[in-house]
Symmetry: C2
Subunit: 467 residues, 2 copies
């Protein structure tokens, strides 16, 4: 007979730095989700738990238990009936980061190229994405600028689309990982958002609820990232890779630089436009960073799915899929399957209809040396493209276009950014924000590489993870 | 213009180990007490605050601010109109600890002996006491066994009694330190009782709300104390002395041993009986430890009040006051002033009317070597004398009588304890508990002294306090 589990014991153990058992973690999270269960924790007890975890940390086993309990706190998506390899990507969030819109069709094309005799793609990408919040964009808001595109598929429709197209892109459903919504709201309320352990449990519980076989994490660092230092980003990457691996999912993290908007555009429709343009024409000088990151992540995804010998071979395969037009064909198939009107892709520039725009020009000649990329993200939000609070509406056609990238030589008066908004009155503040944050220098800046490091699982015995 | 104060900033600062300002602490506690104030913390935020304080600790200044904010969270008792020195004692709680019942009349007698021309006692003892909880007894429950004794005086009646008698003994009023009741209930709910900082703020806010000029703390250590080790007890004593001193109250702590019931009886009426017997007859072999502790504490109280050159002189003065009969006269005056029927003191033994009793005899010859004094306290509680939960009723005549003290040689079959209860069915379990915990050995035990150490204020510069 097992010992009865009490919330007060859990709080006191965690408070004293003693590890919780899997049963304790599971019982606590069950109570978080089903608040009317006898002995379920109160709001105050959940708050005390989160603060204790914030300050005491978690052992790898505790983090695995917490993530697992959250993962199974509601419905899960099970791709196993498809009998194929399910792989996904998650990014910690950035400005102009539209890799999902390219990765889904590239990987889908790779899967469709290797269908089984029963017609099942050789791999699939069950993407469950989020919305814009604060200075970062969200895949769902971008997709919803495509007329008719439905991001609210049922799990049955999701499965059917995956089977037919090799990829599908939907939003969180209320029944997936309900514990995360409750815990996240509480963390926000009591100031415990910035915990590597709690961030890991939140992200990984949602990703693992997709029952993935492979997962590539894009952990961003730099002025536009949530993690400001390499060290913090690496620690988070290690925790997430460890947690994914312990849960049986092949997991890799790529540490990447987020110090300027990724690619040419940041906003909603403008980002779809940039991706469609790349799928149609395969390159653009201002999208070089976006393509490099996309192929790097796709390379790892293909490698994890057993479709490339290593990440480098996967990179080349991804390039080839984009250049062959197969990615664009897969994209059209996915969008059509999700109800989207693909006619807008014929001349995507003509679908871009902001009410007002303004050009920010260089106020000196020299190197475009630096910017506070979080500030740039907030400027995009203020233009109407993002939301300050969950539930706020977003504008389809607001955003910015980058005419130069960091490290580039610019002339005085040369356009650096164009701002777009659906309301001319919204241009002034973001224009000032951009002017204030852009630095032009005489000397060439020393810029970090876009791809910094790859974090794979090291067993704790070989290399103990810093907790 | 001062910066606006936000609960979320307070939580994040404390979480990150940054000290809170006095304004922040005051604003937070104001919100704890007045929950409808805009920006007041929610239950969850109070819980997160307490857990963060538990794990991060407090600087001496933060502890002083917290205590001060709690102290002024409701009404306070102000003895200053009496124009005399107000001194009190607080004990961290024990078994059979009835020193308050002796200290109040001894100190009152000292005050009455030195009245001003206006008839005000030379010092006064405004005692605001608590009730039994768990394994420890409570002064109010003991006093209320005296027929008619009223522990619920208004603050005006309290002042009048102090002026007339030099001492008065009442319970917490709902309007005194309301923040402590809220915070204590929350600490109990989330498992953060055992924090030296939070214990200090709780005790000292209530004591300082009596506007004391002097305070002597009896910090107990040993098997019957909340603090089990000398180190924990000393740390708590240092925090309390520091906090009292920073608030302008002369404060001293005495570390004392609680490894067996103090004196001859533990219970409610039986403890009053023991004290009345000592005030009438001045000594009893089984009350020697009680008298030694009482005179030690009284000695410090008299010294702090300027009525004795040092604690040792105060000790002798206290002995003399007891032996002269002056303490008994003061006792009768206080009890009568608070509505108590003093006729029960004429033959106190005859007022002791338990329905059933049982003797526990030694099961071997040897030295009475040890007991788990917390277990003994719980046995007293189970007999009916204490309460497991706040609000439970207590029995006036339940309790135990000790026939031998630790270190004493006993013969097989010699009575060690007599148990009393108002319900014969309640005798079995406590009798078993006592039998199990009593150890008789062949070798003489090595017993710690009753009075271990005196902690006075050392300025942080001279000797930094361990946080």
């Amino acid at each position: 007979m097992s010992k009865p589990i009490h919330v007060l014991d859990i709080l006191q153990q965690k408070r004293d730095g003693l590890a919780l058992s899997g049963e304790q973690m599971e019982s606590f999270i069950r109570g978080v989700t089903q608040r009317d269960l006898p002995g379920a924790p109160t709001d105050a007890q959940i708050a005390a738990f989160l603060m204790a975890v914030f300050l005491r940390g978690l052992t790898p086993q505790e983090l695995a238990s917490l993530t697992n309990a959250m993962r199974f706190s509601g419905e899960t998506f099970d791709a196993s009936p498809l009998r194929t390899f399910a792989v996904d990507k998650h990014s910690t969030g950035g400005v102009g980061d539209k890799t999902s819109l390219l990765l889904a069709p590239i990987l889908a094309a790779a899967g469709l190229a290797e269908c089984t005799p029963e017609g099942v793609p050789g791999l699939c990408v069950p993407m469950i994405s989020g919305r814009s919040l604060g200075h970062t964009g969200g895949t769902l808001d971008k997709l919803e600028t495509i007329p008719g595109f439905n991001t609210q598929l049922s799990l049955a429709e999701f499965t059917a689309t995956l089977r037919r197209c090799g990829a599908a892109l939907i939003g969180q459903t209320p029944t997936l990982v309900p514990a995360d919504r409750i815990l996240y709201a509480m963390r926000d309320h009591i100031g415990t958002i910035e915990s590597p352990n709690l961030i890991t449990a939140s992200i990984m519980s949602k990703k693992l609820a997709e029952s993935l076989n492979g997962l590539v994490l894009d952990v961003k660092t730099g002025s536009g990232a949530f993690m400001r230092t390499d060290q913090e980003a690496r620690h988070l990457a290690e925790l997430m890779v460890q947690t994914g691996t312990l849960a049986g999912t092949r997991t890799v993290a790529v540490l990447t630089t987020m110090h300027q908007p990724l690619g040419r555009f940041a906003g909603n429709w403008v980002e779809v436009w940039e991706c469609v343009d790349l799928m149609q024409h395969h390159e653009h000088p201002l999208s070089a960073d976006l393509l490099h990151l996309t192929h790097t992540l796709a390379g790892w995804m293909l490698h994890l799915a057993g479709k490339a010998e290593d990440a480098q071979a996967g990179y080349l395969r991804s390039q080839q899929i984009l250049r062959s037009g197969a990615a664009y064909q897969a994209w059209l198939r996915i969008v059509a399957a999700q109800g989207g009107d693909t006619s807008v892709f014929t001349t995507p520039a003509s679908f871009h209809r902001p009410a007002a725009s303004r050009v920010i020009a260089a106020d000196a000649a020299g190197y475009l040396a630096s910017m506070d990329c979080t500030q740039v993200g907030w400027a995009v939000q203020r233009l109407g493209a993002g939301r300050a609070r969950p539930g706020d509406p977003v504008s389809a056609h607001a955003g910015i276009e980058c005419h130069a990238k960091l490290g580039q030589v610019v002339q005085r008066g040369q356009p650096l950014f164009t701002l777009f908004s659906e309301d001319a009155r919204l241009l002034d503040e973001p224009a000032d924000m951009l002017r204030q944050t852009l630095q032009i220098t005489e000397a060439a800046p020393d810029l970090p590489p876009l791809i910094r490091e790859v974090v794979q699982y090291a067993s704790p015995a070989a290399a103990p993870l810093d907790r």
